[in-house]
């Protein structure tokens, strides 16, 4: 009789113990694998994280959505500006790009180097632009690094739609943290036109 009277109290006491025993037997850690030292130190680093239950292994894994680069990972001192200039030549339109960041400035353009239409990136020598537009770069240093890395390198065969002087400017803007499609004359023109006149 006493035993029956104590049953609810006993159950309350034993329940956590039963859960722990069951967990140990099934191999299901309640909180999932513990992060390594230095990992997931603060709640801020877990923004976008969501626990996922793996049905087969009974392990809890963390799926983490990366934060936008401009919002979380680029120091303010890396910011800069880019100026895209358009030139009217006898042959057609031409574009160059100048990036200023961290007290450094570099102006470059894509050049066709031979009869097979190989291209490279050189220091800009074009003058008298007919149009210029300046945009803010979240990662100006990244854009400078990208341009420096391509100076004098073979950057592939020219293509009006996928490897042009304008698509090169778009690639620099992309390296600077802007959402401009890579290797796309169309994407770069769309981006610049979206800025308005």
């Amino acid at each position: 009789m006493t035993v029956f009277a104590l049953r609810p109290r006993l159950l309350r006491l034993l329940l956590p113990l039963l859960v722990l025993v069951f967990t140990a037997i099934s191999g299901n850690a309640l909180a999932g694998p513990k992060p390594a030292p230095g990992q997931f130190l603060t709640a801020a680093t877990l923004i976008g994280a969501e626990p996922l239950q793996d049905a087969t292994s009974h392990q809890v894994v963390w799926k983490i959505a990366p934060k936008p680069a401009a919002a979380c990972c680029v120091a303010a001192e890396d910011a800069g500006t880019a100026t895209i200039s358009q030139y009217a030549t006898d042959a057609g339109a031409h574009f160059s790009i100048e990036v200023n960041a961290g007290g450094q400035s570099l102006s470059t353009e894509q050049i066709i180097t031979n009869e097979f239409n190989d291209t490279t990136i050189g220091i800009n020598t074009s003058v008298n632009p007919v149009n210029s537009v300046t945009v803010q770069l979240p990662n100006g240093q990244g854009a400078l690094d990208y341009m420096n890395g391509l100076l004098g390198e073979n950057t592939g065969t020219y293509n009006s739609f996928s490897n042009s002087c304008l698509s090169y400017c778009g690639n620099v803007l992309n390296a600077g943290g802007l959402n401009v499609p890579l290797n796309s004359t169309l994407g770069t023109a769309r981006f610049l036109n979206s800025l308005g006149p």
Partner: protein, 99 residues
């Protein structure tokens, strides 16, 4: 880096792998030559003076690439030579505007 497909690449694959009729091969040869000229400086998108026109020309080319892909896919499924010929001629007319 994944290189975007060109009209020339799409049609060349169709000639080699698609069993294209000889008459269509002749037109395809013309289209491939045109595509090379359109992709070359200063033709295609870059022949225009304004960014708006450059965007329109590039959009037009992108639409042609999609059309060429569709033509190739349809022909491989239906083997309809007449439709293939008609579509290739239509592409040629639009491509001429980009030169």
């Amino acid at each position: 880096m994944i290189k975007p497909k060109s009209i020339a690449q799409i049609l060349a694959e169709l000639v080699v792998e698609g069993g294209m009729p000889l008459k269509a091969v002749a037109i395809t040869g013309e289209l491939i030559a045109m595509d090379a000229r359109i992709s070359d400086y200063p033709n295609g998108a870059m022949k225009h003076g304004s960014l708006i026109d450059i965007e329109r020309a590039a959009e037009s080319y992108e639409a042609l690439v999609k059309k060429a892909e569709g033509i190739g896919k349809d022909f491989l499924e239906t083997k309809d030579r007449q439709t293939l010929m008609n579509e290739l001629v239509a592409i040629k007319d639009t491509m001429a505007a980009l030169l």
